[in-house]
Structures are given as structure tokens and as C-alpha cells.
């Protein structure tokens, strides 16, 4: 039987302008649905694991369409609660070259923000599961959503399930102070922590050396310093971060660093030309989780994660539809992009 991974979080309606149009030019929006944890569940199903996604959506055709979207990719949606007022929306204008992508969030009052842990039977949800994953976005939605995240992490730990969190700080959703208070509390239940230097600083208060994200340059020593501090404080089993060097909105360097408390491993770096970068962090998280769940050593799992997310950059939408074989081929060095016949 394939291994079961549970993720919990928000799924949103994503409305994006077609063909690099600006918002003011658009007459149509392309529809897709996504959210960090839903993207991870879908990617894991895609690699052959069992992905279960837990959320709450409104009981209307928009909520149903979100469920249908992830069900299409084989995600188990049976534990999704229905109710509340609305599905969160985010509007995306895709940038190109030196014009950055723009996101307008319209997610206040979403069903998942108005949620109670009693709407979910975690005993049943975690039955036979080996891994639980969530992100720092979910607790940022509301106090109720933070309470739900904590309840889920506790329930997973009580069953001996490995837990992971992607820190994913969203400054439009909460303040640094609030994020630190809540995330510090949640991280005591976490085994695998994913987050870049900026997230570590904003959500957990770990200061790095001298990295400036706007300059797009990497400072590995700064990361190592932060990872070490995180390990000391929370005792995480693994700490990982994807590393993006922004050459422009279209061209990035992409690699990852992972740490198990003893060794650091820096993966190979890919030069990615971006079709759609939204969801690339989730594709790294899902690749890393896949590697660790299936017993790969830390370095190999990180290589799998970074190769998976390098491929995600070429795929429109939030989710990674790269196949297991494609990821493995890329890991082995076939980055030619030649037509596969």
C-alpha cells in the first residue's frame, strides 16, 4: 500500500490575467485553484503516494469546483468540511522580465478562517498516515485557523506521525510579532521545518548574517548559521530551504540547502526560465517530503525536491504536474529540454 500523507490548509480560487496582460487590460481571468498544502497533496499523489487534503470550503458551486479540481489529481477530499461564507480569492498578474508579478489577495472571511477543530475527526483523518504537512499561511488566516493548525499538529504527534511545516511568512496576513508568537508555539510539534532565511527571521526571529533578498545573491554561511540556531531551539530533525537567486522576473537560479543537525547539503543549482513561479516552494516541499517518506537519504531527497520544483517553474498553475520519471531524469542530469519521443 502506498504511503498516506495528510495536508491541511486553505485552497483558493486563483484568477489570473491571460497572456501577461495587466489587470487593467483583462477581459477574462484564467481559473485555477491552489494553496500551499493543496499543491503539496496533489504533487504527492502525482508521485504515487496517497495525498489527503483537509480544509473547509463554502457549500456552493465555487467551493465544489475547488474540490473537483484537486480530486482530478487523485487527492482524497473526503474529510473536507463545508460551510462558511466564501472561498478565498487571489488575483494574479504574471510578470515578465523586469516587471514583477502582482498579487491582489481577497481572502478575508474565507470559510477556512471561520473554522472549528470539532469539524474534523483527526483520529480518522490520520488513520494509517505517515506524514502530516501544513504551512505558516494557515495559522495566519485567523485565530480559529491557528487553533485548528495546532490541534492537527498535536493529533499527528500523538499518533507518532512525522510533521512538517513550510514557514511561508505572508506579511499581508499578519504582523511579525503575531507570527513569532504563534509559530514559536506551533514549531514545538514540528519535525521537519522548511523555510528560507527571511521566513526564519520574520516568523521565528532568527537573524542571519548579511543576506539581502532584493539583491538576489546567496549567502550560504548566513543560512547555515540560521539553521544551526533553529536546530538548537526546536530540535527539528531536518531543516531545509529552497534558494532562489533572482536574476530577473523570468530567470532565476534555483537550488536548496538541507541540514540534519550534523551535516549540511547544498544541491546542484538549476537555471530556470520561469513560466509560472507560483507554487514553486510547494513543489520543493512536496519533492522533499516524497524523498524522505520513501526513504531517500537527506541529500537525495533535497535533490529530488529541487529538481521537481525546477520543473514546476515550467508549468502554468499552482500545482506541480511533473511526473516521477521526469523528476528522476532531471536529477540524473537530463536538463536538455529536448522533445521526449
Amino acid at each position: 500500500m502506498s504511503k498516506k500523507v495528510v495536508t491541511l490548509g486553505e485552497i483558493m480560487l486563483r484568477l489570473s490575467t491571460p497572456d501577461f496582460k495587466r489587470f487593467v487590460q483583462a477581459d477574462t481571468f484564467d481559473i485555477t485553484y491552489g494553496g500551499g498544502e493543496a499543491n503539496v497533496a496533489a504533487a504527492l499523489c502525482n508521485y504515487g503516494l496517497e495525498g489527503t487534503f483537509v480544509t473547509k470550503v463554502p457549500d456552493n458551486p465555487i467551493g465544489q469546483s475547488a474540490i473537483n479540481h484537486i480530486r482530478r489529481y487523485g487527492v482524497d477530499t473526503q474529510f473536507i468540511a463545508r460551510g462558511g461564507d466564501r472561498l478565498g480569492i487571489y488575483f494574479l498578474e504574471t510578470g515578465a522580465s523586469m516587471r514583477a508579478s502582482q498579487v491582489v489577495y481577497d481572502r478575508a472571511g474565507a470559510s477556512i478562517a471561520d473554522v472549528d477543530a470539532s469539524e474534523f475527526d483527526f483520529d480518522k483523518i490520520f488513520e494509517n498516515a505517515v506524514w502530516f504537512h501544513t504551512t505558516g499561511i494557515t495559522p495566519a488566516l485567523s485565530d480559529k485557523a491557528a487553533a485548528l493548525t495546532e490541534a492537527a499538529l498535536k493529533a499527528a504527534k500523538a499518533k507518532g506521525i512525522t510533521t512538517s511545516i513550510d514557514l511561508n511568512y505572508r506579511k499581508k496576513l499578519w504582523s511579525k510579532e503575531k507570527a513569532r508568537e504563534v509559530m514559536t508555539r506551533l514549531c514545538q510539534y514540528v519535525d521537519v521545518c522548511i523555510g528560507n532565511e527571511e521566513d526564519a527571521d520574520t516568523t521565528l526571529g532568527f537573524k542571519a548574517g548579511d543576506t539581502d533578498v532584493t539583491k538576489g545573491e546567496l549567502n550560504l554561511d548566513g543560512f547555515k548559521d540560521v539553521f544551526h540556531q533553529m536546530k538548537e531551539k526546536f530540535g527539528f530533525k531536518f531543516i531545509a530551504s529552497s534558494l532562489r537567486e533572482s536574476h530577473s522576473a523570468s530567470d532565476n537560479g534555483w537550488s536548496a540547502l538541507v541540514y540534519d543537525g550534523t551535516d549540511f547539503y547544498h544541491t546542484k543549482q538549476y537555471n530556470v526560465r520561469i513560466v509560472d513561479r507560483v507554487g514553486s516552494g510547494d513543489s520543493f516541499a512536496s519533492g522533499l517530503i516524497y524523498g524522505l517518506v520513501t526513504g531517500m537519504p537527506m541529500g537525495e531527497a533535497a535533490e529530488f525536491g529541487v529538481a521537481a520544483s525546477a520543473l514546476k517553474h515550467t508549468i502554468p498553475g499552482d500545482m506541480n504536474h511533473a511526473t516521477l520519471k521526469e523528476v528522476k531524469d532531471l536529477m540524473k542530469g537530463d536538463g536538455s529540454g529536448r522533445v521526449q519521443r
Binding site: F29, D30, P61, Q64, S65, V104
Partner: protein, 337 residues
């Protein structure tokens, strides 16, 4: 003869064609809203119009303003603030499958307005007509208060004030009933577009007579008695034969006389939304252009609404000339070369 309209701009998101929500991979984007539609329709008919609302300070709010600019509606009194633009999702029905609307407009920028924050004296300067609807007071207590301030300012400044009663049962979620809010606002209105059921809900005025036409006349007469400042009362009706086949008509009370409009049979409706808003624009145009001919005035309004049903989106992009041409009997739909 400048008109000022006040209300909410909504983003309308529709699955293309007649696809259902569950099938859609894209949404067609329209901007909409009753007063917005009426404003653009009036501008298209050649009347100077200013639109007043509150929009979020983001690219979507800007897109709405640019759309109004595109149709020559004056946007200089639109204020910026709040968190979001109201949205409604619309699935177009066909034959026996009715259209479906999902509102997602809570806490829109206009609903969260601080009452008294708009400077109506300056906004209404040099205008002679003010228009609003019963939708804005349904959004929130604050929006209801701002509507009252607006109609009162307009009334006292000597403008003609029109209102489309537009009852929306899914709104009115803020703890007040329409009957507690609407009578006060209505005291400052001269021209009303409504119907029997809404008048009952808002003003508790109902018919004793049961026969259709007689009951219309009865309610209209009672409404005029209760609100003697009213000058023009229009009650419209819509007979639904199927989702894309309706018939529309109206009764018109003016100078103590009630007349009936020409009835239009709409077979093959392209987009049913915004018909009432188009009629409202036609009413304002009719009253201001054919004041001596009440029959022409009401027929013009109905013809405008009939043409709207042939146009996708919520807004009536027709010229006064096209409406007049249809009124003069050109309903064949032959290509105009």
C-alpha cells in the same frame, strides 16, 4: 443637465457562454452594479454623468475606474479606500435552467464607508439629477446612512432624485429590515422604478384587489398618497416564459394618470442581467427629453430594456437613436447598412 449616480461597482465573473460553474476554466470579466450600468447607459445616450463610489486602492479598483473612463463617465468623485471590491459570480441559464448568482460582496469598500465622508455639496454642484437604488442601503448600516445623506442633500439642493427600489433578499444582512430603512430614504425621492412586491416589503403597502392590472393601479395610487413628493412612479413587470424568453412591460403614473407601456416580447435573450438598470436609464432619458409625452417616455424606457437583453454583460451599450429606431417599429433585426 448632469446626472450623478451613487452605488457599488461589482466585478462580475461569468463562465463563458452557457458553461456551468463546474466546467469553467476561465471567467469572462465584466464590471457591473445597478447604478454603474445606469450611468454608462446614460452616458452612451449622450447625457453627462458622474459616478460616485468607494473602491479599494489596488489594481482591480483602478481597472473599474478605467472602465468608467472608457465610457466617458466622470470618475473624479470616486474615493479610494477599504479592502476589496464586491464580486458576483454568474452562471448563465438557458431554457429551463435558470441563471445562478453567487454574491461575494461582504465588506466591500463601499459597504465599509464611513458615513458622512463624502462631500455631497461639492459632488452635486452643477448637477440637476441624482440617482441611487435600494441595493446600496442593503449593503451595510454605513452604506444606508450615506445613501440617506446623499438623497437628502440632493433633494434640498433642488435636484430631481430617482431611485430603483431593487430589492435583494440575499443582502440586508446587517440587522435592519428594509422597512426600517427605506421609507426615510424614499421621502427624498421624486422618480421611482419598482414593483408591487418590493413596495410591500419596503413600505408595507399592498393591494386588496386581486386582478393583476387593478392591483398595480391600486398600489401605485396608494404609494403616491403615502409619498406625495413623488412625481413619476413606474412599476415594471416581467413574464417569464423560459430563461431565454420573457415579456416585459410597465405601468406609469404621472400627473394623476396611469398609462401602460408597450409590451415587448423578448425571445432569444442573450443576457438577462441589467434589464432594469437599462430601463432606469431609459426612464431618466425619457423624462428629461420627452417630458410632454408620457407615453413616448415610458415606451422609450421599455425599448431600451428590450435592447439590453440582446447584449452580453450587464450594461446597455445603445444610443438614444437606436432605441428610437426600435420604437418606431424597427424590430426585424436586419443588418443596418
Amino acid at each position: 443637465m448632469k446626472i450623478i449616480a451613487f452605488g457599488e461597482v461589482l466585478m462580475r465573473l461569468s463562465p463563458p457562454g452557457h458553461t456551468r460553474f463546474g466546467q469553467a476554466t476561465s471567467f469572462d470579466l465584466f464590471f457591473a452594479g445597478a447604478e454603474y450600468n445606469t450611468s454608462i447607459s446614460l452616458s452612451r445616450m449622450g447625457m453627462p454623468v458622474g459616478f460616485v463610489t468607494r473602491l479599494p486602492d489596488n489594481d482591480l479598483g483602478m481597472a473599474a475606474i478605467e472602465q468608467l473612463n472608457r465610457y466617458s463617465v466622470d470618475t473624479k468623485n470616486i474615493v479610494s479606500g477599504g479592502h476589496r471590491m464586491g464580486i458576483y459570480f454568474l452562471e448563465q441559464g438557458a431554457i429551463a435552467r435558470g441563471s445562478k448568482v453567487i454574491y461575494d460582496r461582504e465588506h466591500s469598500s463601499l459597504a465599509d464607508i464611513a458615513p458622512g465622508s463624502l462631500n455631497w455639496k461639492s459632488i452635486l454642484k452643477d448637477s440637476s439629477w441624482f440617482h441611487c437604488t435600494g441595493i446600496t442601503p442593503a449593503l451595510s448600516k454605513a452604506a444606508a446612512e450615506e445613501t440617506l445623506i446623499a438623497v437628502k442633500s440632493a433633494f434640498e439642493a433642488g435636484l430631481t432624485v430617482s431611485i430603483d427600489l431593487n430589492f435583494r433578499s440575499k443582502l440586508w444582512q446587517y440587522g435592519c429590515k428594509p422597512s426600517e430603512i427605506m421609507p426615510e430614504i424614499f421621502k427624498y425621492c421624486h422618480v421611482v422604478l419598482g414593483d408591487k412586491d418590493t413596495v410591500h416589503t419596503y413600505f408595507n403597502i399592498a393591494a386588496e384587489k386581486t386582478e393583476a392590472e387593478a392591483s398595480y393601479l391600486e398600489v401605485m395610487t396608494k404609494l403616491k398618497e403615502a409619498f406625495p413628493q413623488l412625481t413619476d412612479i413606474i412599476f415594471s413587470y416581467r413574464n417569464i416564459i423560459s430563461a431565454n424568453h420573457n415579456a416585459i412591460g410597465a405601468y406609469y403614473l404621472k400627473n394623476n394618470k396611469i398609462i401602460k407601456s408597450k409590451e415587448f416580447d423578448l425571445d432569444g435573450i442573450v443576457d438577462r442581467l441589467g434589464g432594469g438598470d437599462a430601463m432606469m436609464a431609459g426612464i431618466i432619458y425619457g423624462i428629461t427629453h420627452f417630458s410632454s409625452d408620457a407615453q413616448k417616455s415610458i415606451n422609450f424606457a421599455l425599448a431600451a430594456a428590450a435592447l439590453k437583453s440582446t447584449i452580453p454583460g450587464d450594461t446597455n451599450f445603445v444610443s438614444a437613436q437606436e432605441v428610437l429606431s426600435m420604437l418606431s417599429g424597427n424590430t426585424t433585426g436586419r443588418i443596418d447598412r
